[in-house]
Amino acid sequence: MLEVRNLTKRFGALLASDGIDFDVREGETHAVIGPNGAGKTTFISQLAGNLVPDAGRIVFAGEDITRLSAPRRARKGLGRSFQITSVYPEFTALENVALAVQAQSGHSFRLWRPARSDRSLIEPARKVLNDVGLSSREGVLAANLAHGEQRQLEVAMALATTPRLLLLDEPMAGMGIEESQRMIDFLGSLKRSRITMVLVEHDMDAVFRLADRISVLVYGRVAATDVPDKIRRNDEVRRAYLGEDA
Amino acid sequence: MQRARLAPFFMTLILFFEQLLNGVQLGVMLFLMAAGLTLVLGIMNLVNLAHGSLYMVGAYLTIAAAQWTGSYWLGVLLGLAGALVVGMIVEVVTLRALYARDHLDQVLATFGLILFFNELVAMIWGRASLYSSLPAWLQGHVELLPGSIYPVYRLVIIAVGLAVAALLWYVVTRTRLGMLIRAGASNRTMVAALGVNIRLLYTVVFGFGAALAGLAGLMAGPIYSVQPGMGELILIQVFVVIVIGGIGSIRGALVGALIVGIVDTLGRAFLKPLLGSVISPPAAEAAGPALASMLIYLLMAVVLAVRPAGLFPARG
């Protein structure tokens, strides 16, 4: 599904991505963990197309997308959520999702018919909102949603683009325990429906519950990639990461 | 023989040199304006259309003070101090409320300031151009090279401008204030995190920029026309300078100002004859001046098309 080879990105003297090799298989949930400053955000930005790598290749569904812009990647089926909540605050929850549906439909140079009454946008959007459990809040401005709801909305927007691969950048960031729990349950249901996901997350509980495989990023390198149990026992990982955290 | 053949070449060379000097002089004036504007824009993220008004205020206050005290130098001193004070008052009374707003609100409000200052100056001093005097020794001209006579005053402008540039370089790179300024231009939250009194820093920087604009204004007085609205004549060019140079960068302002000054001057001097050798002279006659007046805007469009954040972007 996604194949990354020798991805390298430099900021001045800092080597933020140091020859990363990384694979995601169809249908798996692949988590990326690593200590602060390990280069997770740089890595995901390059996957999403917001940063251009200095060297290396990114192949998505058999196609080299290394040089494609973020919107082009999104249209090819690479959905993402942001670490810092990123919704359209002046739009209602339903409109937020409808925009994502519209992005996928590819018919956005229609200037006359009101989008608000366009059933081909509204109905799929309602469905996704229902899936993430925000149905009752569809008419509320995104700015007025609770933080957890905004995160859910963000995932809903990513889902509404019917992605083949979902990049989730710390979906639990800033959430309370209860909210996190709900989000984990929701991601679990996504996982069961065999949606391919790359999950960057600090919440180890979530990572070990959800991930099929885990890659550990240390100093811009992939220190290890393996199933959760093996990662848990991997000495290098413990030294570099878990030990530090514990 | 040899001499006779070389003479026209030397003449052209001298002419070119003199025009270059003219360009530098214009550039230096633009720099004095641009330095303050680019700092305010870079640090406070404030689009200040009224920067030209401070230039005007500097020119008027200097004339008024010189008349009142009878001394040119006291006039200069009071004019500078006046511009500084007016700038700080403007900052505290109106602009402070606008930092958190978007550029649009700032453009609107500072345009309001322009209207206010222009009309206020007209009410106090009338709408006619004012005469601004100079000490006798500044009024003469010197022969720089054989056949090349240059007004002393313009040489003084160049000297003052370059001195200010050097001083700014020193302040920005070698002092604590400069460190804060540089930090502020690239990362505002960091400066706040350092526990610096941001309000005070802003007021100081704004006053500083106002004084520089006032300096430009008072130096412009004796060669340009001191009249209400004089600031807007130069303001747009100054915006071109800082946009070409890159917002928030003093170095960019200097380089941008010199480029704009030289391009504008050389364009006015040599574009028509140059065009005349390519297209027919009557066509050059028509196109030359039109093109010369558009030249700096063209330059800016090209620079931005290639480098959307100017030559020396201060941020990231």
Binding site: A48, S69, A70, P71, G79, R80, V87, Y88, E90, F91, L99, A100, A103, Q104, H107, S108, F109, L111, W112, A115, L121, M157, A158, T161 | V47, T94, L98, R101, H103, L104, D105, V107, L108, A109, F111, G112, L113, I114, L115, F116, F117, E119, A122, M123, I236, F239, V240, V243, I247, A290, S293, M294, L298, M300, A301, L304, A305, P308, A309, G310
Partner: protein, 310 residues
């Protein structure tokens, strides 16, 4: 909510429809011309609002299209072509083309750079206008013949007034349709959160460029109307302070609202008119008024009546 809005707009339109007979009856026909001029600027402001209020593009060069529209009509009239369809068609097409060209370069930049580059392009057009000796250069020229339409005489104050009114309503309605269409949603979304838009697959550039072009075309229409209104055109139509004025109408009235630019045009031009009658130093009052309005009416005049859900 929607229907209430519709009622208010209807009241507004009816008032404007009723204005001419009322002021004529009161022996004050001059108000027809004043309101007509205001409505022409309101069309320009409505067009700017599309890119500024809904698209987040702070164009400081919108007067360019006023000028191009005026010159398109003026130049055709100069060569003896009087057809209004031709005048207005050319005005719209020419300004759309120029907007397309300016936009394609400018939209690559953002923030202050965008403000300044749009200003720079307009300055270039301004100096171009000054150097067009054939068309009067800086002096400008008289519109040789007013735009001619079947059944419609723009020389007639009333005919012209109602034409402008119809076009203003059309411009407001068109803008309303555009901003609530799929296209408009993308445009507004890109203003609201560009990173998010890119992440779900929109490249804002093309949408912004099209909006910029449409706004330019509408501005050109206002320009052709203005040329007919003054019966005269000059490069001054493209002066940067004119761009500023149009911008202020939008901000004063309230950006990104349908009524804002119209309200702003009426307010600014009425206030100007009243102050100018009162004292020659009107700018010393208008200046602080603008500042106060910025500081205290954060959402413009429309914001005084319109409570956001927040």
């Amino acid at each position: 909510m929607l229907s209430r809005r519709l009622v208010l707009w209807s009241v507004f339109v009816v008032l404007l429809l009723a204005l001419p007979p009322v002021v004529v009856a009161l022996g004050q026909p001059f108000y027809i011309d004043l309101v007509r001029r205001i409505m022409i600027f309101a069309i320009a402001a409505v067009s700017l609002n599309l890119i500024l209020g809904y698209g987040g593009m702070v164009s400081f060069g919108h007067a360019a299209y006023l000028g191009i529209g005026a010159y398109a009509a003026g130049i055709l009239a100069f060569y003896g072509l009087a057809s209004g369809w031709l005048h207005f068609g050319a005005a719209i097409a020419a300004s759309a083309l120029v907007a397309l060209a300016i936009g394609s370069v400018s939209i690559r930049t953002s923030g202050v750079y965008f403000i300044m580059i749009t200003l720079a392009f307009t300055q270039m057009l301004y100096y171009l206008g000054i150097s067009l000796a054939l068309f009067g250069g800086d002096d400008g020229m008289r519109l040789k013949t007013r735009s001619r339409f079947p059944l419609l005489d723009l020389g007639d104050s009333l005919h012209f007034y109602y034409l402008v009114l119809v076009l203003l309503v059309a411009a407001v309605y068109l803008t309303h349709r555009i901003v609530s269409s799929r296209f408009g949603m993308v445009l507004r979304a890109a203003k609201s959160n560009e990173a998010r838009s890119r992440a779900i697959g929109f490249s804002p550039y093309a949408y912004r460029l099209l909006a910029f072009t449409i706004a330019g075309a509408m501005g050109g229409l206002a320009g052709a109307l203005l040329a007919n209104h003054t019966n005269y055109l000059t490069p001054d139509f493209m002066h940067w302070t004119r761009s500023g004025e149009i911008m202020f109408m939008v901000i004063l009235g309230g950006m990104g609202t349908a009524a804002g630019p119209v309200a702003g045009a009426f307010a600014l031009l009425f206030v100007e008119e009243l102050l100018a009658r009162w004292t020659e130093h009107w700018q010393v009052i208008l200046g602080p008024l603008l500042i106060l309005s910025v500081i205290f009416f954060k959402r413009g005049l429309a914001g005084m009546f319109y409570k956001p859900d927040a």
